[in-house]
Symmetry: C2
Amino acid sequence: MAAKQPKRSKASGPGEAGWQAQKSAATRDQILNAAVRCIVDLGYSNTTTMRIAERAGLSRGATLHHFPSKMDIIRAAVDFLHQKRLKAFERSVKTLPQDEDRIKLAVEAYWAHVTHPLFVAFFELSVAARTDKELADILTPAQKAFDEEWYNTAQKVFPEWQADREAFDLALNLCQQLMEGMAIGFLTHAREGRDEPLLAFLEDTLHRLIPKS
Amino acid sequence: MAAKQPKRSKASGPGEAGWQAQKSAATRDQILNAAVRCIVDLGYSNTTTMRIAERAGLSRGATLHHFPSKMDIIRAAVDFLHQKRLKAFERSVKTLPQDEDRIKLAVEAYWAHVTHPLFVAFFELSVAARTDKELADILTPAQKAFDEEWYNTAQKVFPEWQADREAFDLALNLCQQLMEGMAIGFLTHAREGRDEPLLAFLEDTLHRLIPKS
DNA sequence: CCTGTTTCAAACACTCCTGACTTTTTTCTT
DNA sequence: AAGAAAAAAGTCAGGAGTGTTTGAAACAGG
């Protein structure tokens, strides 16, 4: 797990300033991690404060001390998730070398992204938000922010593509919709090795769409 | 509404044989229709026996008379949905002319299919089934049956494509995953006119994939 | 007309979840 | 070391949902 409970460094001594705050933050992290895990493997509607507390190794009262209501947990979890997703995405982009086949690597990166549990969590939330206005109000900003970040990053990674903006937008949308469709489809239909050919074909198509380099 | 409550034809006379059964069937239809509507615009987890009864214009006790438990309603609704979906699909295929641009029309047909409320209902159920084994057991057979039907129909509509089976499978998967991805994405992200260019590009790509005619 | 069956309605008992409240333990300050 | 403050745990009432049971109305057949 990401956040380990901080161990007291010395006997009784207060050690560093604000150890309380530190521990509190760690507990918050535990709760949010537990919430995400719940969403991923129980689904949004089966995620209850009790189950979150259970997975966080805390009592329900403790979690409700840190987050007064369930929606507060969800709100914080969405933010938490958004940050993590952004970070993971940036990390995977950072490692893209300049000289090799960037398209292939980018496809692989986004595929890794959409098959990651974090994406599953976001997906679950998106679906629930379709019929839950309160959740939608929480989720939409994060969605939009991520999309914009994604678009900007893609622009930076493929500067030579900016010559033909229409082709660029098309390629981006194709990537996103197709890969997300595949990920979601496989999440429910169960894949049978139908992913490899499609991904290869996508790469090929993208190569045809990029301006001659 | 699909099923109208049958009106008694004459005074007191039993009229046709099995009037009771007829009325019962009509009520069942009302209930199933209401269930589907609930799933579409409230989501699966917010679909309760009370709300279904309300939308069917019946008391809760009445619906539970026809379907002893909630799962029985869902089971029947899945079947109901599957039949409707198959029928709608076959109807749209039937109208495909032999001489015109079949690919364009097929894309339009499948796009119409995935943007139809029936697809939304199936999608909701699929997502819920991911974390609900009982529902999954109900849903999976229908899913599989539809997929197979789809594959077989596509084979019949594009006989000349069977020469290159690999390309055919690829094209089919591309269609399905991309369009479903788009439909689902637009269901949650809200579209901004990003569909037209993508669909046009898909058509174009499919034309390149089909054996020279 | 009367009896048994089917359809529908209402009431009840039970479970699960949430949010508020109270109590205990741990940590910080002086 | 002692009291204040924060964190964690435990308890409670209320609401929502399911499924069962009881009771009434419409229907079928003798």
